[in-house]
Amino acid sequence: MSLLAWLLVIVSQLALVAGQIFLKRAMSRREHGGEKARGWIGTLVIGIATMTVWFLLWLGVMHQVELSKLMPLEGISPLLIVLGAAVFLRERLNWRGWAGVGLTCFGVLLVSAS
């Protein structure tokens, strides 16, 4: 993988995590109603814009790199999302949640390594 491809992968993963956090925040605000709900559409638009950036970058990476080399990298995105959600949304996982995240990530690695 070239340096440019690595850079694209890193930026696209960051965009994915940030975009998902914006989306979750927008939908949570909408659900709360009242004072807190105001402006949820703005947050949703920011989230969708960030996800669009992710999507275009990911298409570009797919164009340059074989899918089989890319998929293991996709396996780490749930981990990044869980960490991002813990920091920015104060989400906590119980041990079953962590076991589930770990098992699925490892499974994705195996699926893509073959």
Partner: protein, 135 residues
């Protein structure tokens, strides 16, 4: 956590399942679209804009947009980390779809990976059930 409307269709887990199926379909369509435009190596190829010339890519984008609706709905009710980990189910259906529609082979390693993902998803579902018991 807020409660979803009654009825199977409004179950956030069913919506995640639909999201997963549509995302898997989208991935396969995008792959077909990317293969069509792989010969093109213009300045814009790094941005993924070349792929937009293929109808398959647009079908893939449509499937992605449809999956997005289910995903936003599920986010109203489920924590982001758990919900996103559940979308790893895509990696079960992409190999199966690639086998069915693109004629790709599923190796033993890949099959065991699929089993691990299924096991992981069962843990995640249990984890959510425990959270709901407490609240």
């Amino acid at each position: 956590m807020p409660k979803p409307a009654p009825g199977l269709f409004w179950n956030p887990f069913l919506q995640i399942f639909l999201t997963v199926l549509l995302t898997a379909a989208a991935q396969i369509l995008l792959k077909v679209g990317a293969d069509y435009s792989a010969a093109n190596n213009s300045v814009w190829s790094w941005l993924g804009l070349v792929e937009l010339g293929s109808g398959w890519t647009w079908l893939g984008i449509l499937a992605f947009l449809a999956s997005f609706g289910g995903w936003l709905y599920a986010l109203r009710f489920l924590p982001l980390g758990l919900a996103f980990a559940l979308t790893n189910g895509t990696h079960i259906f992409v190999p199966i779809g690639s086998w069915l529609f693109l004629g790709e082979h599923i190796s033993l390693l890949r099959a065991s990976g699929i089993l691990l993902i299924i096991a992981g998803i069962l843990f995640l579902a249990q984890s959510v059930a425990k959270v709901e018991e407490k609240t």
